[in-house]
Point group: none
Chain length 262, copies 2
């Protein structure tokens, strides 16, 4: 029987972004089964034949049920919390970087009670990009030694899942999570799909209103996405905000039609 | 520079007993460098050519300095504490089995201060034998899921070393943790004046776009203010958002002028 401590990993979605080595995909899947996680997603995986992943003792089911996506946005759209992993401890990033052993496991477990949480791992060579990071609420760092900070993909997955499974269910949910408005099951958080939609529509409004200058699209897109992520929206607030932005866009479109008709 | 938390792993001796796969030896060595351990010993390794171990990014030194022994007894002879790893949680054993996450890390670290500690990992197929166990003061179990208790060798090493490195005198929590989910703790928060201004301008945009229905002003005002408050803005984000809403309003005003001019 699965230990109750691990049942909570049912909601954990492990997302491998651009993995290149089938061995690593297999190793990640195996680590998942070791710690009771089973939802594997791959974004833009290098080898279409990722199912040839070997060295995945006991992980056949996880690999068979793995889902493939073209973009990070699609892969995390149903998740209320998106966490990226990074070897980088100190870089100028929009997102907070939390240490795995002190600040991450418990927080993620608190969120897992409410719904799906995405944990992103980058490719073997370069990890996650800034573009990938822009989908993350915060980043998680495994405190490795200065001599070799870069971990093998399968081993990172194993260590992260061990830590999340380990972190005892802090009952009642930690004050931190409660402040983030997350752990309290009563008020569900906006999914990544919701916030991405709000970002996209807000960006459209900014385009139409002339806020986005030519050649500035990419920068603005990241800026808007980061801003909306930091709003840390509840599902209800997301719906309200979505309605507002839609109405504004509708009005801005009227302007355009008017101009076209001139 | 190595963090002091990891310096304590100088005394940790990782002993791989009868490893069969060079990839796993390499993976174990890599995990060691990730967590600041560097003393690798192999007992009766299957391939004498273990130095061909690949996938050992950053672990060349550890592999080069690895020592080979014929027996467990010889490999652990200088260690005051010998700990075996096992997937088996309940078996009639001479030795106590301790769970990694609650009972092992701290105990091992305590011993590491005094002298070398051996941590034994068995072969991929069968793990450690009773004969191997007989050299151990106690056994350590990684609490894996019933569905797949058997971990990959490299991943077990990674998880155990992570736990031992983790059980350090806890460093003061990072600012990120103190400041839940935000980019930097020192960043000043938006003032109430900022958020009120954003609310007022957003409300104006909603008026102009037809979102606010007649007789609905008071309700909308409260709704907007509550929403913006819950954004929990930093001062910088408030400035950005203010700029966006202002631009949108400017555009919406253009519409009105156009209509007035019709």
């Amino acid at each position: 029987l699965p230990a109750p401590a691990n049942a909570a990993l049912d909601n954990l979605v492990v997302v491998l972004v651009r993995p290149r080595n089938p061995l690593n995909i297999g190793a990640a899947a195996r680590a998942m089964t070791n710690f009771g996680a089973h939802r594997l997603r791959l974004v833009n995986s290098y080898a279409p034949a990722f199912r040839e992943a070997r060295s995945a003792v006991g992980a056949a089911d996880v690999l068979k049920q793995a889902e493939e996506f073209r973009t990070v946005a699609e892969a995390v759209s149903d998740c209320a919390l998106v966490v990226g992993t990074t070897a980088i401890r100190k870089r100028v990033l929009q997102q907070a970087v939390r240490r795995l052993e002190t600040e991450s496991g418990g927080a993620i477990r608190d969120h897992l009670r409410a719904g799906p949480v995405a944990l992103l791992f980058g490719s073997e060579k370069i990890g996650l990009t800034n573009q990938d990071f822009s989908h993350c609420h915060w980043l998680l760092n495994i405190p490795t030694h200065a001599k070799n900070i870069s971990m093998n993909l399968g081993q990172s997955v194993a260590v992260c899942l061990y830590e999340i499974a380990r972190s005892a269910p802090s009952a009642p949910p930690s004050q931190a999570a409660a402040n983030e408005g997350t752990a309290s099951g009563s008020e569900p958080r906006a999914t990544a799909g919701d916030t991405e939609l709000i970002s996209a529509l807000l960006l459209e409004a900014l385009h139409k209103s002339g806020y986005v200058k030519p050649g500035n699209d990419a920068m603005c897109e990241k800026k808007v996405r980061g801003l909306v992520l930091r709003f840390n929206l509840k599902a209800l607030d997301a719906t309200v905000l979505l309605g507002m932005v839609r109405q504004i866009i509708w009005k801005l479109r009227q302007t355009e039609k008017k101009r076209d008709g001139d």
